[in-house]
């Protein structure tokens, strides 16, 4: 089957199951594109997340566009993005259409809340492979500590953490190590 078509199908599937915010989508994309299909390497995927986080717009959309582009060019980037929002948008349309009927459906609320712990597992599992290929040496541990300090202690935006660690990387890996 044509590669772009297979990618579209993969992203339609990802879109249909990404409950729990942008990083749930990141976890699902990682699982499909890096682990299951091997279309991108783990290193490439880390760079994609970093750039998706630093640019405006929904993280799931940014990640899909970038991943699609790196796999098969600009058309693939656009098609992967449309694929990832296809099913969610159709569901949003149905919700808008049957607004009064679905307004307070307790079953749906229970199921969606129940998925959240599952989403935690999905993101954490993607975290293992990201840690594996994101850590190179002892200085990586220092950078992780710096990023965690900026995010958790200083409560600054993730972008500041990414830029600070990038700048330290340039200094240390570019000129010292």
């Amino acid at each position: 089957m044509n590669l772009i078509l297979r990618m579209c199908l993969a992203f339609i599937k990802i879109g249909a199951f990404c409950f729990g915010g942008g990083y749930a989508a990141v976890g699902l994309i990682e699982n499909e594109v890096v682990k299951a299909m091997g279309w991108l390497s783990a290193e490439q995927f880390i760079n994609i997340i970093a750039i998706a986080e630093m640019t405006p717009g929904p993280i799931a959309v940014n990640t899909s566009t970038f991943a699609g582009y790196l796999m098969a060019g600009p058309l693939a980037g656009i098609l992967c993005t449309l694929s990832v929002i296809l099913i969610p948008s159709c569901l949003a349309l149905l919700t808008a259409f049957f607004f009064e009927k679905v307004k307070n459906n307790p079953k749906v609320q229970t199921a969606v809340k129940g998925i959240r712990p599952g989403a935690i597992g999905i993101i954490a599992a993607a975290g293992i492979s990201i840690a594996k290929s994101g850590f190179h040496d002892w200085f990586s541990a220092v950078l992780f500590a710096v990023a965690a300090f900026i995010i958790f202690k200083l409560k600054k935006s993730p972008i500041i953490a990414l830029l600070s660690c990038g700048a330290l990387g340039v200094i240390v890996y570019g000129f010292i190590l």
């Binding site: 879109g15 199951f17 990404c18 699982n31 880390i46 760079n47 997340i49 970093a50 750039i51 986080e53 640019t55 405006p56 717009g57 929904p58 993280i59 959309v61 940014n62 566009t65 970038f66 656009i78 993005t81 969610p88 569901l91 949003a92 349309l93 919700t95 808008a96 259409f97 307004k103 749906v108 229970t110 969606v112 129940g114 959240r116 712990p117 599952g118 989403a119 935690i120 597992g121 999905i122 993101i123 954490a124 599992a125 190179h136 990586s140 541990a141 950078l143 992780f144 710096v146 990023a147 995010i151 935006s157 993730p158 660690c165 990038g166 330290l168 990387g169 340039v170 240390v172 890996y173």
Partner: protein, 181 residues
């Protein structure tokens, strides 16, 4: 467009534009649309745009709102992506991304932490078990995350109906005792 940091950063901006500047929806209608689209899979921003677009101008409105939300992102990312491969040949750019790797892991940790807090997994044993089991099943047994999503939803529904029958029984028992006394 000006929504670095994901869906929730976007909501106040959409609310300001849609409810106050343009007067398309009331604040209450807007909040309803959020709580509904929040239960759907996929990016909150595009779901919200679809929903509001449809309520205002039916299908064309929905399509216009979706395109308006994703086009700026797609264009920016495509532009970055085009220079990315060439830029990665520079040793200093490589050094930058080598430094960024551990920070991305910190972002993942922070996403897990936030979601764990909002799902209150430390206060709810079942949620904690589901979270740890999902992690182990995907990370070590290579189970597809899709089964995890379906499984977690089913577990929540079953647990909920078990709880309801229990409270119903307890209430029934309670009223029996009262009638005896």
């Amino acid at each position: 467009m000006f929504t670095i940091g994901g869906g929730y950063a976007m909501l106040p901006i959409i609310q300001e534009a849609v409810c106050h500047e343009k007067g398309w929806l009331t604040d209450e209608e807007f909040l309803d649309s959020i709580s509904l689209t929040n239960s759907l899979p996929g990016p909150l921003a595009t779901n919200c745009a679809t929903f509001i677009g449809f309520r205002l101008k039916k299908i064309p409105g929905a399509i216009a709102a979706i395109l308006g939300t994703i086009c700026p992102s797609i264009i920016i990312i495509l532009l970055i992506a085009m220079v990315f491969t060439t830029a990665m040949e520079q040793p200093l750019v490589q050094a930058f991304f080598r430094g960024v790797g551990p920070a991305v892991f910190a972002l993942i940790v922070s996403a897990v932490y936030k979601l764990a807090k909002s799902a209150k997994i430390l206060e709810n044993k079942l949620s904690l078990i589901v979270a740890v089991a999902s992690f182990a099943l995907i990370g070590f047994l290579k189970i597809t995350p899709i089964l995890i999503v379906i499984g977690a939803a089913v577990i929540a529904l079953v647990a909920d109906s078990v709880k309801k029958t229990k409270t119903a029984d307890a209430q029934k028992g309670g009223s029996d005792n009262e009638s005896h006394s």
